[in-house]
């Protein structure tokens, strides 16, 4: 009974993280706004900023990985394999939960750092904030970042969850 609830909990978490990461990708890719900036016309796309491109790529990888792992058969055996694979994450280039969490957090922090400059500017470097000219673009980027944060939190839960489901037998025995 405990095993079934554990598997179900893992599946639910993974599906939610897949949805969140997919939402982040879609929100950022469809953010595009045209506005006139004095006499010049400015088109704001997510691909103008390298950090946003990395965010899209990282979250796309995470959503594809979550989707594929959702359909793994014999999950009780492969959970332990996934955690032990943490040791040898370079084996066959396989992704594990830890690598995915690192991808998520690094992409989110990079995109948030650049978005913060876009929103407030940097007075010392002479960088003007661009959110005043393209407010809808900024709102959609913010939504994508929030979805990325939700995916990250779910994956941190998954990380602790997967370690716990493997190590728990050892801990119970040692008391």
């Amino acid at each position: 009974m405990v095993k079934v609830t554990q598997r179900l909990g893992g599946l639910v978490l993974r599906f939610a993280a897949f949805c969140a990461a997919l939402g982040a990708v879609i929100a950022m890719v469809t953010s595009r706004e045209r506005s006139s900036f004095f006499v010049l016309s400015l088109v704001a796309k997510y691909s103008d900023l390298a950090a946003f491109k990395y965010f899209v790529i990282a979250n796309a990888i995470v959503s594809v990985y979550s989707f594929l792992v959702l359909f793994l058969p014999k999950e009780s055996l492969l959970w332990k394999f996934v955690v032990v694979l943490d040791l040898f994450f370079l084996v066959n280039g396989k992704l594990t939960v830890k690598m995915v969490t690192m991808l998520l957090t690094s992409s989110l922090s990079a995109a948030a750092a650049v978005a913060q400059v876009g929103k407030r500017g940097n007075a010392n470097a002479g960088w003007l904030p661009i959110c005043g000219q393209v407010p809808r673009f900024c709102d959609q980027i913010t939504g994508a970042l929030i979805a990325g944060l939700v995916a990250l939190i779910l994956y941190v839960f998954l990380l602790i969850f997967s370690i716990h489901s493997v190590v728990d037998p050892f801990l119970l025995r040692k008391s």
Binding site: T105, S109, A110, A112, V114
Partner: protein
């Protein structure tokens, strides 16, 4: 199977020494990254205009505090180096402290959390540095590295040290998890 053999080798007595060496390296890398970025400051005087024949000079300073991503970088690197220092002290001066199951688990979880923290900090600072180095013509943000070359060089050095720290912390976290999977051979006094 190769996996089982490697796991066994990682939890023998040598793993403590390897872990100690790796932690010392990671501590030095993150500490140097924090210090170099924390002391990153450059002041330069530029000529901004001419009134008749006399040039007007203005002094500009480039400090790491101007960019929130760099502030987070310094703080995160300091935290990770402190964590490594604590773990080194625990291993060197722990004496006969027995590593029960929960302590091993907490060390492994802390290592994992620190890996993610450090990677987030290094990445955020890296992308901000890329914007500072190349500018962004779509957002009309000028690059600053052509004017503050020393500031940019020091920042690049700190970034390299932080990324080296990320790789080292990844390996440390992997070794910690391996000690978790086979706990019956681990105590602090397992050296040599």
């Amino acid at each position: 199977m190769a996996v089982a053999k490697l796991v066994l080798a990682a939890t023998s007595g040598k793993s403590s020494k390897i872990l100690l060496g790796l932690r010392v390296l990671a501590f030095l890398a993150t500490l140097s990254a924090a210090i170099v970025m924390g002391l990153n400051k450059e002041t330069k005087t530029f000529v901004v205009g001419n009134v008749g024949n006399t040039p007007i000079k203005a002094t500009f300073t480039a400090k790491f505090q101007h960019t929130p991503a760099f502030v987070y970088f310094v703080v995160a690197n300091a935290m990770v180096s402190f964590h490594n220092l604590l773990m080194i002290a625990l291993q060197l001066f722990g004496g006969k402290t027995e590593l029960t199951g929960f302590r091993l688990l907490s060390i492994a979880i802390l290592d994992m959390l620190n890996v993610t923290l450090l990677s987030a900090a290094a990445n955020a600072a890296g992308f901000m540095a890329e914007v500072g180095k190349n500018g962004n013509k779509h957002a009309r943000w000028d690059k600053i590295c052509d004017r503050f070359a020393t500031y940019c060089d020091h920042g690049a050095g700190a970034l390299i040290a932080a990324f080296a720290g990320v790789v080292l912390m990844l390996i440390i976290s992997a070794v910690s998890i391996s000690r978790l999977v086979q706990p019956n051979k681990c105590s602090i006094s397992t050296t040599a």
